[in-house]
Symmetry: C2
Subunit: 279 residues, 2 copies
Amino acid sequence: MELLNGKELREKKIEELKSKVERLNELVGLAVIQVGSDEASNVYIGQKEKLATRLGYYFIHKKFDESITDEELKEEIDKLNNNEQIDGIIVQMPLPKHIDSVKAVNEISEYKDVDGLGFINAGKLMHGEEALVSCTPKGIIDLLDNYGIEIEGKHVVIVGRSILVGKPLACLFTTRNATVTLCHSRTIDLAKYTREADILVAAVGKKHFITEEMVKEGAVVIDVGINREDKKLYGDVDFDNVSKKASYITPVPGGVGPMTVYELMDNTYEAHVLRRKLK
Amino acid sequence: MELLNGKELREKKIEELKSKVERLNELVGLAVIQVGSDEASNVYIGQKEKLATRLGYYFIHKKFDESITDEELKEEIDKLNNNEQIDGIIVQMPLPKHIDSVKAVNEISEYKDVDGLGFINAGKLMHGEEALVSCTPKGIIDLLDNYGIEIEGKHVVIVGRSILVGKPLACLFTTRNATVTLCHSRTIDLAKYTREADILVAAVGKKHFITEEMVKEGAVVIDVGINREDKKLYGDVDFDNVSKKASYITPVPGGVGPMTVYELMDNTYEAHVLRRKLK
């Protein structure tokens, strides 16, 4: 069994990205919009700011009061859409309930939608066209590629059909010529599917949901879960037992998680380059 | 074994749609853009015109010479986007090679994109939001629903990952709580997957590609193939032998095919209603 070490890969990738960024003539610009003051959001935005700063990005954090209206938020997003110094815009989730978050995300220009959550980037991804792809799926593919794990022809079973992970990841794997099965909370006899997986992805949000019996000998196991319990982090996979059967497995923490913020920076760099190409 | 009779269902559905259309205050408008004079395109457009006329739609067929440029085509699409009498616009494929067909399709307003081929409608479909869904996948779901075939919890195996059929159909089935496996030309040991299917969809484009040994006893078999040979039509499924094992099966012709043009008309009606709601 070999660990898929996201923390290590992330460092390597950051250094590579940094040297690409240094060769640019202009600063790469990233804007994060926050509404309200959610505790977890503060932490996540802090991580983004820290990495953006390390890479020498121009970073804006726009924080608005919960009382902001849909219309005012749209105006703020429009300003950033039209701001030439900004290459990437993200709206930090969750938004207060009175804000239409789908609408907000779709106000972001398709060329600055570095979370890949707008309809246009999702549609491009489905069509197999070049797109800004959401960060966690992109990080998973990067992890596999970096460890030389073949994707083509493999049976990939994904548990969880969220728009952040499961669905875009299914598209990415299909484009890479894997055969993909997308399972979810309404799948009957889940183990029947997971036991067939050459590559198994767990994105469920339940501590140790994937047990040893559900995994094929020699499978590659990717754990997207981040479940907090008594200030400790647990994955969706029962790591201690599943790791005995897996050929490769991501730890939690230190597997998929570290890749995600890196991919946001990579998307912002790509958006920077692409927008200048299109001019 | 019971036949899934698309020809019969289509008639029933057309009559239902006709009575809904008659209750509207305005005409439903559909525009078909053709570039050049492809033989098959002429036939398909003729079928669309015939059904549109039967339903009392306002129908425009805009035919352009092969020499039209990307820019001129964009202008023509824009005119139709701004034409209040037009609810649905389709660009008949194939387009001449010098025209960027992806770009052309994406010039169509998302609210008039009744083939559901633009990025925005594909993205909405992936997000599980209300969208204009491409016609063949929609027709398949209608067929299953009409025969009372349960989708939730079923294992659906789709062979073929095209943007017209396989990929949008995978989204629709996932939204309906099926567990979906998407296979394609690069799938290794295809029969291993197809034999597991409760509902098997063949969208390959090869005559009698799906044989008896590849199908589970009692499976529901949907044949999207239309393969011409010596002026006869053949499906992707070896009907004579597979029908012995299937619980339900679509014939070719007379199964999925007839539903497709109907669904285009249904999408145009829906686009008409939706656009008035949004005003």
